[in-house]
């Protein structure tokens, strides 16, 4: 039988389905998988590595390989707070504020928010956790004159959008987001507990109110191992 890595990965996935294995259940040993699939040790190992990369399995040195909890799936088209997405999957979401200061807009911020160069904006940097593991750094820029005294609120406990709506009567109606791959800087790697240069999602976005005016310009980095994004497309 001329088996390929993808065939062995599929055999393992079918095994998981047929035996109804749940997150944290243990996978049979490599030797046992070799025997039942007829594939070489090298091929089984490569297939397991692929499934680890894809978030289907995780391994504990000395203990074996286990079924991984699916990545938190964030839907992209209808705005749902990340907190709600995480909690709906039965997990804990928390935030800490890294910094919150008033700065002058540079060309990039000014252009996105339709402000002039040097216009005062708040820069709010937050670190988000899933089950107490840091997974996302969120940097938001907001007009400091329009949203005066925004820095009086504790955004480790409150939601930014809720405060904008309830206090400033500004509701986020729609927005655009662009996702690409970036590599962790020294600061990001230390805060997210990963190696410098590791791949991350980089999402830049602009949220607008009901009058279509820009409200928040955000630059976000997200670790790749806990989260995936989803989308429904229609013709």
């Amino acid at each position: 039988m001329n088996l390929k890595k993808c065939d062995v990965a599929e055999i393992i996935e079918c095994f998981i389905m047929e035996n109804n294995l749940k997150p944290d259940d243990k996978l049979p040993s490599e030797r046992s998988l070799c025997e039942s699939s007829g594939a070489s040790r090298t091929l089984v190992r490569a297939a397991i590595n692929q499934l680890i990369q894809e978030g289907v399995l995780y391994s504990r040195i000395g203990s074996g390989t286990f079924i991984k909890r699916p990545k938190v799936c964030r839907q992209l088209q209808n705005y749902i707070p990340f907190k709600t997405t995480v909690e709906n999957e039965g997990r804990k979401f928390s935030t800490s504020v890294l910094s919150f200061q008033k700065i002058e807009s540079n060309k990039n911020i000014a252009r996105h928010l339709h402000l002039t160069l040097g216009y005062p904006v708040y820069e709010l940097r937050r670190l988000r956790f899933i089950d107490d593991d840091p997974f996302m750094i969120d940097v938001s820029y907001i007009d400091a004159k329009r949203f005066e005294k925004l820095n009086e609120y504790d955004f480790s406990k409150k939601s930014l959008y809720k405060v904008l709506e309830q206090v400033y009567h500004t509701r986020i109606h729609k927005g655009q987001e662009k996702t690409s791959i970036t590599f962790a800087s020294r600061f990001e790697s230390s805060v997210l507990s990963i190696k410098e240069g590791e791949a991350l999602f980089y999402i830049s976005g602009l949220a607008r109110d009901e009058n279509d005016s820009p409200v928040e310009y955000a630059k976000v980095v997200v670790k790749k191992d806990q989260v995936k994004f989803s989308c429904y497309l229609e013709n």
Binding site: E13, M17, E165, C231, Y232
Partner: protein, 250 residues
């Protein structure tokens, strides 16, 4: 950034002049810019000055020196709008890139448990398997595996998928795609896959998994696609359709 004026060092003036020509399309992406000798002669500057200006833009990622060929203007990223149900070819055309596809493997196989579940068919039923490399302007951009139930696309094997895009093939077979569900992740691929995608130095790529349905709600394709992160970015427009927190209906 300071404004460029007549007092600015000449190599910076030349650098900014070249940058403008690139941004305004006089030197379009994929084209070779004039050599440093030509530029030196054209603007009456030292050849070393011209080289410095070019090297500065290479360092910024706008240009790329290719041994024996010259200095090329690089492409920006291809932007895929996640809201549109668009195939590879139409995304390329929308971004003004030349699409080409290399079919690496095409075969018929039994579905097995995993794909039987995805397509709601029996594990003994047959499915098509296509493995292909997609290129934009002759540069590898994505490596795909596509699974299609035979019952949904009879006679697919009669269509040459090196010539026709998959969307065109579906059109020819009378299949109309209505909706799709897609997920986006970042994963690290292995050495062999990285070689195919020509991204040996950077093995982290996007993984897009998608399944598409026709107007009857039948899943007619399931795809798994590795996409180079230096070639692609994904954009989406979203709406906040939650009801307002002050109780008013929307």
């Amino acid at each position: 950034m300071n404004t460029i004026n007549y007092l600015t060092p000449i190599y910076i003036q030349l650098r900014e002049l070249l940058r403008t020509k690139i941004e305004e399309g006089e030197f379009p992406p994929g084209s070779v810019i004039p050599s440093d000798t030509t530029l030196a002669g054209q603007y009456g500057v030292n050849k070393l000055t011209a080289r410095n200006a070019i090297n500065a833009l290479i360092g910024e990622g706008l240009l790329k020196r290719v041994q024996g060929r010259g200095v090329y203007v690089l492409y920006g990223k291809i932007e895929q709008d996640l809201g549109l149900l668009a195939g590879f070819t139409s995304t390329m055309n929308r971004n003004e890139r030349k699409p080409s596809i290399k079919v690496l493997e095409f075969k018929t196989r039994t579905a097995g448990h995993k794909y039987a579940t995805i397509f709601h068919i029996n594990p003994e039923d047959e499915i098509y398997y296509i493995r292909r490399l997609c290129l934009a302007d002759d540069e590898s951009t994505s490596l795909e595996e596509i699974f299609i139930p035979r019952s949904a696309a009879k006679r697919l094997e009669g269509i040459n998928l090196s010539i026709f895009s998959l969307r065109e093939a579906f059109n020819l077979l009378g299949i109309r795609l209505e909706r799709a569900y897609e997920t986006l992740e970042i994963v690290e691929i292995d050495a062999q896959e990285a070689r195919l995608l020509d991204t040996v130095d950077q093995r982290n790529v996007f993984l897009v998994r998608y399944s598409s349905q026709d107007h009857n709600g039948t899943t007619v394709e399931y795809g798994k696609c590795y996409i180079r992160g230096d070639k692609f970015s994904f954009s989406v427009n979203y709406l906040n359709s939650q009801s307002k927190s002050n109780g008013n209906g929307s």
